[in-house]
């Protein structure tokens, strides 16, 4: 049997989930991540594998309705079963073949082990079990992880990273053969969502993170984030976009951008689209239009022309109105009369926490530090190692 995740890009990276392995979706508590497991289960149900989906904090009827909402009619398949830990908890008799009272952890553990014997792929929401049954239930979870290996089955789990004790997080992290982190790109509020493979022990895979949207019907869909590159006329936006991108295109008239620059960049596992806006005021409507669904802003300023800073501030304000995080690229640092980043901060009245990166776009100096600074704000403390990132709450 070949078990896959059914998640875009992920299957290209890991090929399959081998028998005896556990894949955990490690979900940020503020992100709708349950759909990943649903998509994985449905994909394998469609392939004819016997799959079981465990629910504990949501009624089985609601789960089936959610599957349907994504266009996955699992109840039409005989090889799909719900494991109902919800009904008895809220005081209703369960109408499902596999059910138990979650307040009796031994009963739950026994049931899940039986289900594991009978099915090829089983989904268990680990953190929900911990939430309802208490932290002690981690020993039951541990025994199930071990049984998966012994029996050669595939376990899909979800672990919502609430502030649990480190010990619990370590057990789940260590026992999972693969971990897919599902997180939010945040700047005061969550502006976008990503998933990334942070651990896999059966294949040497380079880390990759993918931005996604949920589509109903459809499920998880990868998408390319839009980063705005803005700044006053002649600040060097087009030069920056071209210097940093793998491929780039500008719509120019007599050497000045009149529509927009577009560049595409593959960097540290991210696919990024850069949109450079024209600097002249008459094009400001384009700026506002692009700002609505962008994820972040790079403000390029000419470090030698402080007289353009008020215009730079004005452009910044019109896009940060949408709550977007931003970094400042202090361009033309190779020129002798360039102001230092701190002088620019003072003249532009920028807060201390706004990164101002000295660059020379024409010489390609410092340009990737700008991307790094913005990614750092957007996705937080991703620490790239050999083939995994540090998992944090």
């Amino acid at each position: 049997m070949k078990v896959v995740t059914g998640i875009p890009v992920l299957d290209d990276l890991i090929d399959e989930i081998p028998n005896g392995k556990t894949l955990t979706y490690w979900i940020n508590p503020e992100v709708e991540g349950d759909v990943f497991a649903m998509q994985t289960i449905y994909t394998n149900v469609e392939e004819g594998l016997k799959c079981a989906y465990t629910t504990i904090t949501i009624s089985p009827e609601s789960i089936l309705a959610e599957f349907e909402e994504f266009g996955w009619n699992v109840k039409d398949f005989e090889n799909f079963e719900i494991v109902d830990l919800y009904s008895e908890y809220v005081g209703y008799p369960s109408k499902y073949k596999y059910s138990a009272n979650p307040l009796k952890i031994d009963e739950v553990c026994g049931l899940l082990k039986n289900v594991l014997e009978e099915f090829d792929v089983i989904y268990i929401p680990i953190s929900s079990i911990i939430d309802v049954c208490g932290d002690e239930s981690i020993s039951c979870i541990e025994s199930i992880f071990k049984l998966v290996k012994e029996k050669g089955k595939v376990l899909i789990t979800s672990f919502v990273s609430w502030p649990y004790p480190e010990k619990i997080k370590k057990i789940v992290g260590d026992l999972s053969n693969a971990i897919v982190k599902i997180g939010g790109i945040h700047h005061r509020v969550i502006l976008g969502y990503y998933y990334g493979l942070v651990k896999v022990d059966w294949k040497n895979v380079k880390s990759k993170s993918i931005l996604f949207k949920l589509v109903r019907p459809g499920g998880v869909r990868a998408y390319i984030p839009k980063i705005l590159v803005t700044g006053p006329y002649n600040a060097g936006k087009s030069t920056f976009v071209h210097a940093v991108s793998n491929v780039a295109l500008s719509v120019d008239r007599l050497g000045t951008t009149v529509a927009l620059d577009h560049g595409h960049l593959e960097y540290k596992g991210f696919s990024i689209d850069l949109f450079g806006t024209p600097g002249q005021e008459r094009f400001d409507p384009i700026l506002r239009m692009l700002g609505k669904d962008a994820l972040g802003v790079i403000l390029v300023v000419d470090s030698t022309k402080p007289e353009t800073f008020p215009r730079a501030k004005q452009m910044l304000e019109s896009v940060t109105h949408f709550g977007l995080p931003y970094v400042v690229a202090a361009n033309k640092q190779d020129l002798s009369n360039a102001l230092s980043p701190e002088e620019i901060r003072k003249k532009m009245y920028l807060p201390e926490d706004v990164p101002i990166i000295p660059i020379s776009a024409s010489k390609g100096e410092g340009i990737f530090k700008v991307i790094d600074a913005l990614l750092d704000i957007l996705v937080g403390s991703w620490k790239e190692g050999e083939n995994e990132f540090e998992i944090s709450t």
Binding site: I27, P29, E30, V31, E32, G33, D34, I56, T57, I58, S59, P60, E61, S62, L64, A65, Y86, Y89, V90, S127, S128, D131, V132, G134, D135, V160, W162, P163, Y164, G184, R188, V189, I190, L191, K292, H321, F322, G323
Partner: protein, 219 residues
Amino acid sequence: MGVQESILPGVSLKKGSNIMIYGPTFAGKAMFTRTMFKKFVKAGYCGIYVLTRESAEQFIDWFGEEYDSNTVKIIDCVTKSMTGDAKDTEAIKRETVMNLTGISAKINKFLEEFWRKGNRNIILVFDSLSTLLMYLNLQTVFRFLHILTGRVKMTGAIAFYIVEEGMHDEKTIVTLKQLFNGMIEFKEENGKKFVRFVSPFTKTDWLEIHVDEGGVIIT
């Protein structure tokens, strides 16, 4: 974050505040909170109301003609528990009360929507934490609130969380209090209802209130 919003005579809240609404059953907590929520919305705030005791439709009925789905968003944790196939709308999201991840994600979706539209004045009401504590243990609810109160602080919203007096032990109340900046406390004496504000820095006198279906009047 310097903006202050008045909730009781002489009491203003800073943006990013998380406030517990605490008192015995039928003391007027829910109506007081709703009236305050409506007042904030009328003053230009965008609102998120998390309901665990009645449906979104019942809440909208109470809100009346002033209800605007662009500015008032509801997370209904009642209907989905009763019927599995209740549909969501742009302004109403249904969730089961035990699914804290679902509630948390939905609150964040609404915050994102307001934020992207340039709305920075946001009020959140969670009615009530006592319902959560009926289904889930204190530790689990505490972890959920730890994340939520942090998000409220970060976005500069103002949030109120209703807790029933007498339903929980002392340890539960003390644990929850750690998460909040202050408390609006209710009491009932000789058939009269009273309210006061308590925080580490202030404690107001008890103020008498009159409660009916339309709202609350402070006398």
